[in-house]
């Protein structure tokens, strides 16, 4: 067991984190503006929309939630929204598991605090920057997460005000930014065909699950099967 260290947030790490998410910001901002605009259409107040972006800070789950938003609340409606949010965010469970070795040098308090900021983009940054930063320096993670959080919150507020001004983010492929960036990150994760066997398992299970359910739970099933396959493949 490692002895817990104090959190190191180096200025160079912070800069690295902010710089590494700049490419993603146009997509995040456009996504945030459209979230704000849709939220306004669904009847959320500006305070509600901003609070959701600030506290939930999970784009896909927020979109799913406001698409099921209600003007006259029922228990069933409220519970359904929480279940949907849990399903869409289930991938974060696995991302958190994979952060254990990285954060294990930290005391529990800072580690659980940092996990509150975890998103697809900041997680993928951690994977990408693995080895480029000092072990135990979480500056890059904090920089990336803070830039994403501020951008997401401001874009939500702007979108709520602007309403329908941004008509079609799809036209500029802004809805695909995250997927294409993830695909690029996959390339350096490639460590030969043998190590990629779990990917094939993940791929098959994710596609099968996607074809039978319409929800994003396929991410959970695919990733979990891939990890299990990886665990049971002999060295």
């Amino acid at each position: 067991m490692n002895t817990p260290r104090s959190v190191v947030i180096s200025p160079s790490g912070l800069r690295l984190g902010v710089a590494s998410v700049i490419a993603l910001l146009p997509g995040v901002l456009a996504f945030g503006v459209s979230f704000g605009a849709v939220a306004a259409k669904m009847g959320l107040s500006l305070v509600d929309a901003a609070m959701m972006s600030g506290l939930v800070f999970a784009g896909a789950a927020q979109f799913v939630a406001i698409s099921a938003w209600q003007m006259d609340w029922t228990w069933a409606g409220a519970i359904t929204i929480c279940l949907l949010v849990g399903i869409v965010n289930s991938r974060l469970i696995l991302m958190g598991a994979s952060l254990r070795p990285t954060f294990s040098a930290l005391a529990p308090g800072p580690a659980y605090g940092l996990l509150a900021l975890n998103t697809d983009a900041s997680w993928i940054m951690m994977m990408r920057l693995e080895g480029k930063t000092e072990h135990g320096d979480v500056g890059a993670y904090v920089g990336a997460a803070a830039a994403l959080w501020a951008g997401w919150l401001l874009a939500t507020i702007a979108g709520w005000w602007l309403g329908a001004l941004i008509s079609d983010p799809r036209r500029y492929a802004l809805d695909l930014v995250m997927i294409i960036f993830f695909a690029c990150i996959l390339v350096p994760l490639w460590k030969g065909p043998r190590k990629a066997l779990p990917w094939l398992v993940a791929l098959a299970v994710a596609l099968i699950t996607q074809s039978v359910t319409s929800s994003q739970i396929y991410i959970l099933f695919g990733s979990l099967s891939g990890a299990i396959a990886g665990a049971f493949l002999d060295e």
């Binding site: 954060f103 695909l176 994760l189 990917w199």
Partner: protein, 101 residues
């Protein structure tokens, strides 16, 4: 409760649910001994998560998604530059969409 108060409660419940998702996997791994098998599983996890997000997402987005993903990966494989890969991938996706596919 008024509707406004319930909306607020739902937002707080969403935030709590999301935080549980963010912290639960990390918490759980604190109780799982890091045997070689578990370590291999964790090592396979990032690639498996990325594949499970990218491929179904690209398939759901249709020809533009698939073409954009392939173009991005090819550029990344050749140049090792992720931002360039992202830009070319998006440009290809925009092109495919504007061609009406």
């Amino acid at each position: 409760m008024t509707n406004e108060a319930i909306s607020l409660a739902v937002i707080l419940a969403m935030a709590a649910t999301t935080y549980v998702c963010r912290s639960f996997g990390y918490f759980l791994m604190g109780y799982v001994p890091l045997t070689p098998r578990v370590r291999r599983g964790l090592e396979a996890l990032p690639g498996a998560v990325v594949v499970s997000i990218v491929v179904p997402g690209a398939v759901a987005a249709g020809p533009a998604g698939i073409a954009g993903v392939i173009a991005g990966m090819v550029v990344m494989a050749v140049t090792r530059h992720d931002i360039l890969g992202l830009l070319v991938g998006c440009a290809v996706a925009v092109g495919v969409r504007s061609a009406g596919l």
